[in-house]
Symmetry: C2
Subunit: 105 residues, 2 copies
DNA sequence: TGTTGTCTTGTCAAACTATGACAAAAATAC
DNA sequence: GTATTTTTGTCATAGTTTGACAAGACAACA
């Protein structure tokens, strides 16, 4: 149901790892991993980094996917009708750009 | 500090309304409004709509600004280094587009 | 069929976060 | 000075999320 969760699952399956091993890596139980992989629980930042290490994938890429889901979560109620959600994305983008400009200055 | 909060304040000042009147409209006290206008509290969706009515501005526009802040909140910790935040925006945008496409289908 | 290992689901307390109320201080106006 | 508006600090309450546990489902296979 969520890109992030599906991605995690697919990474695990490609590497033929059991949920119990992922659980050990995150110091959680398999029930939690199962829910992560079905999008019923959200990972926390720290866990995303551990997963990236475990699966040996780029941390920033995994973080982007994870964050993207969180962003979508904020918008999903509005995303139905029209431009509100997309406008909101623009607002956020402008703030990011503005902040980065300030810093390089 | 936040676009939304500054906007609210400026709307109120343009119309020469007191915080007490805004508070009445939202059924809150002035302390709360003060914090809203300084970005120390986040409005809830319902309150945004009330504000749009009170100030007689477009609801969708105000919602976009408000949502944009919420989105930025999710990203602000990452927005420092590099592309993670902007990538996350793209991920979210794709999900929105994908969902809209599904619906019109 | 029974056993073993893996994954899933339901439930819940504890941890965490946010809201909005109140009181008291600060600022502004008169 | 007083009166009014705005700000700040503190806090109980409500609301949400996490992760632990127990029990169930499913698959492989002897």
């Amino acid at each position: 149901m969520s890109q992030f969760s599906e991605h995690i699952r697919s990474l695990r399956e490609k590497r033929k790892i059991r949920q119990r091993e992922v659980a050990a890596c995150l110091k959680a139980d398999t029930a939690f991993i199962s829910k992560l992989e079905k999008g019923e629980r959200q990972a926390r930042r720290e866990q995303v980094l551990l997963l990236a290490e475990l699966f040996n994938v780029d941390k920033e890429e995994l973080l982007s996917l994870w964050l993207g889901e969180k962003v979508y979560d904020v918008l999903k109620n509005e995303s139905a009708k029209g431009g509100v959600a997309k406008q909101a994305l623009k607002v956020a983008e402008n703030k990011i750009d503005y902040n980065n400009k300030k810093k390089t200055k």
